[in-house]
Amino acid sequence: MRVAILCSSPYSETGCAVAARLAQLGNVPVGALTLPSWDRGTLLRKVGQWGLRDSLQYAVAKLSPGKSTIRKQIRNPYLETALRHGDGVFRSVREVAGTYGFPVATCSDQNSARAVAQLKQWSPDVAIFTGGNILRDQVLNVPRLGIVNAHLALLPEIRGMSSPEWSLLCGVPLGITIHFMDSGVDTGPILLRREFAGADGCDPLADLRHKMIADGIELIAEAVAGLDSGTISAVPQADREKDYQFFVMHEHLKAVATRRLKKARLNPVRGRCDESGGANG
């Protein structure tokens, strides 16, 4: 199975972990296509996700990796298995590529002609999306089978952003879905759909998210193996046209979701999201 990796940055921890994990399982990627580490959009996203202090610390780690104390730290502790390599830790997809021997290319936009040409040259059966741009058809159509994404909620119930948080608030069981991407938001055919049983003891929400990402990577590996052996096939989503898309959650609601996480039992509650899919049904 020829697998390519799409990363939001060469330093994407998730991107590194996916590439490393697949390689550890004997499926060395045919290439990794990353966005540049320092474009404005990526920087803003990092600041938005991590805050200014953590982003600056991260920048220091990248600019002078030898001196930084963050060098051997892993932001997501649940990725340790995938990222540990001897005494060190993979900090960039280039390091993973150096170890396992696959090429890395950088593009300013994953939809650009250059990105499409690079992907075509690698001729992958599947590509794994670990972050970056909203992908357009010209890229989605390049891999023979498609581009795979790990979504941190059960599809089709919860599509879009802040998905674990919305699952908690809407009373939908926490879960992970591995699916092919299409032109919609998390509307592509489903490969694997698993409820997530590891929420106990997760605190705060970021911890839950980290744990789910790590599980998602294992599921990606399982899906790739299943596609390779022909034991898994994609099932189109029944409610593709329904509008189950969610958006970035306001911190006020996040605080409510956190309280619900602490209560551990995730029973359905009032305040469900309109099952008709808003007004667009």
């Binding site: 608030l169 958006f247 029973n267 509650v269 667009n280």
Partner: protein, 432 residues
């Protein structure tokens, strides 16, 4: 409306030119306003140039809602004129405007709500004064006049009754009666409602000289909302029936995209303020009259705008039919109205995405409130962001403050209710 309905607005270009010159001349009369004006222009220019909002904007609460609410309502208190009416706006060029009957009317419910939420007796007193002033303006027909108070009352000018102003004032009168049980207020409200019902066209619209620009408008669904409120209070079926007829007429303008045609403002684009009026009036009528078709018709464009806001982090100041794009400035009043609409839809449907969008919208609006400056500026909601945008440029407007106050109070009430229900259900299911 919040665009004064003047009978002398036949020639828009002339009117606009005169208005611009008059406002500019205001600076000559009060040169002390020059520094605040330039300061505002510079700060908005800096902000629009350097502050590029991204995906995670507005998800964090930076200003306590209670502080912002107090700030906008204080602005309304300061805008109340000695006659009891509330100024339409504070202009960076000319200062406070005259009292504006229409806005004074529909600010009354906001004042009572604020009094209830905070226990502030000043708000109740302000509502009394505003109601008294409005009662003094009512025409013998039951109608209320259009335009700013005194703007058409010069020699040779005849005060013109206005459907829209009468409807908006009616909202305030109905609420004032609910709060005071004063028979005089109810009588006045019924007279206004009767007039609206009598002059309504058979198709359910209002048109002719009593309508803005002599044309029927779908944003008069706000008038229907007031009539439906009156019907519930007076028990007179004619008022609710008139509201029903108008909503039928409005629903005939719904397009497949969700866009509701028939705003019909010659010489103006479809500002978000008016689009939101159409939606808000239709939604509130749907809720009051128990008409699911009206709720659905309002929910569809509200959802389209929610998706636009969530995707682009902002709404445009104007939209072309079918939401095909428009002008880039932000119409802050329209934004606050959309927040009210989303919150009400959350209340009706339980869909948390409406609450989430409203929380973010309120956050954006709170961040744009001036926290320092002269009287008339602090706590005011600008017509446009940046301040030179096309909707009420260089002005802080009282109806913007009204809708933001409404949105913040609704947010508080519904968020508390949601959390309490969630808590209760968790306890009931043994989670606590």
């Amino acid at each position: 409306m919040s665009s004064p309905e003047s009978s002398s607005s036949r020639n828009f270009m002339t009117t606009r030119t005169v208005r611009v010159l008059t406002e500019a001349a205001g600076l000559l009369r009060a040169p002390q306003r020059i520094i605040p004006l330039f300061s505002k222009l510079a700060s908005d220019q800096l902000r629009t140039t350097f502050e590029h909002r991204h995906l995670y904007s507005y998800v964090d609460a930076t200003i306590p809602t209670a502080d912002a609410l107090r700030s906008v309502v204080d602005w309304i208190f300061r805008a109340q004129r000695p006659d009891g009416g509330i100024a339409a706006y504070y202009s960076y060029l000319t200062g406070y405007s005259e009292s504006y009957p229409e806005v004074t009317g529909y600010i009354i419910p906001t004042l009572y709500d604020f009094g209830r939420v905070t226990g502030d007796l000043t708000a109740r007193h302000a509502a009394f004064l505003a109601t008294d002033w409005l009662l003094s303006l009512q025409m013998t027909s039951g109608a209320f006049p259009g335009g700013l108070h005194g703007s058409d009352s010069g020699p040779g000018n005849k005060v013109q009754p206005s459907v829209f102003n009468t409807g908006q004032i009616l909202q305030g009168l109905v609420r004032a009666h609910v709060e005071t049980r004063n028979v005089k207020i109810l009588k006045s409200a019924v007279a206004a409602g009767d007039w609206l019902a009598v002059i309504q066209q058979t198709d359910g619209s209002w048109t002719g000289p009593v309508a803005y620009q002599g044309t029927a408008h779908t944003y008069y669904s706000m008038v229907s909302w007031a009539l439906a409120q009156l019907g519930a209070e007076s028990g007179d079926a004619r008022h609710a029936a008139a509201a029903d007829r108008n909503i039928d007429w409005v629903l005939a303008h719904v397009q497949p995209s969700g866009w509701i045609d028939g705003i019909n403002l010659r010489g103006h684009p479809a500002y978000l303020h008016f689009i939101a009026y159409v939606i808000q009036g239709t939604l509130e009528c749907g809720i009051l009259l128990r008409r699911d078709d009206a709720i659905q018709a309002a929910a569809k464009p509200a959802w389209v705008l929610l998706r636009k806001f969530e995707t682009h982090k902002r709404l445009l100041g104007t939209y072309e039919p079918d939401f095909r794009g428009g002008q880039q400035f932000a119409c802050l009043t329209g934004n606050a109205q959309m927040s009210c609409i989303w919150l009400r839809l959350f209340e009706v449907t339980g869909d948390l995405r409406y609450l989430n969008a409203a929380l973010k919208m309120n956050e954006m609006l709170k961040q744009l409130l001036p926290v320092k400056g002269r009287r008339g500026v602090v706590g005011g909601v600008a017509g446009s962001y940046p301040i030179w945008g096309a909707y009420q440029p260089m002005r802080l407007i009282s109806w913007g403050c009204k809708f933001l106050a409404d949105a913040l109070m609704l947010e508080g009430r519904l968020a508390r209710k949601f959390e309490a229900e969630l808590e209760k259900e968790s306890e009931a299911s043994g989670c606590a």
